[in-house]
Symmetry: C2
Subunit: 122 residues, 2 copies
């Protein structure tokens, strides 16, 4: 269960330049039902204030990754933090790795670029 396959925004290992994003910009043409289904999952994952703080915290952290022990001031209990991090993982926005006692989360690098493309203005 270490590979997230929920949201294949990019073809995995397709090379750094042959980016194949999930969907065209929102303004290019009406989304199909399937495109909307996949893309909405990302937006939904970021649609909760706590998750958005967690994501921002990980994304802005030194080295692009953060340990759960670093984040205890988001206003919710530790199990709730864990629950939200899991949601972000399921949406394909974060990955996690255990190193010794601690678990480190980092942002899936392709995601930010892909989401940015969705909102890109022509």
């Amino acid at each position: 269960m270490s590979n997230i396959k929920v949201l294949p925004l990019l073809e995995p290992e397709s090379g750094p330049e042959s980016v194949a994003p999930c969907c065209p910009p929102l303004t290019e043409r009406p989304f199909t039902a399937e495109e909307a289904e996949r893309t909405a999952r990302m937006f939904k994952a970021l649609g909760d204030p706590v998750r958005l703080r967690l994501f921002s915290l990980v994304a802005s952290h030194e080295g692009g990754e953060a340990c759960v022990c670093d984040i205890s001031d988001v206003g919710v209990s530790q199990p709730t933090v864990s629950h939200h991090l899991k949601k972000l993982k399921e949406a394909g926005l974060l990955t996690s790795e255990r190193r010794g006692t601690w678990v480190y989360y980092r942002v899936e690098p392709s995601v930010l670029a892909s989401m940015g493309r969705l909102l890109a203005s022509p």
Copy 2:
């Protein structure tokens, strides 16, 4: 009730170049609780497949606006469409205007740019 004040992404009428977006890029620093609260509202609004299709449909439509009569193929009933369009309005993503018999929706122009900035890569 014609002015949406829910999500002041930009200072209203602050001029075309003095853009004052709500929040820094997600990767710049951890979001505060208030920033997360405001920004999550946008993502949440786009976090539903039907709403995402509606938004994409309006955003990509001829002239940047679309009549409700044009959108009947999203798989839900017409009252549900109306309900979702209202949600998008409340999130500050769309505006509506009645012209005669029909109601036209258009995307709030500053929103796409602001959201793009949130996800911009350095």
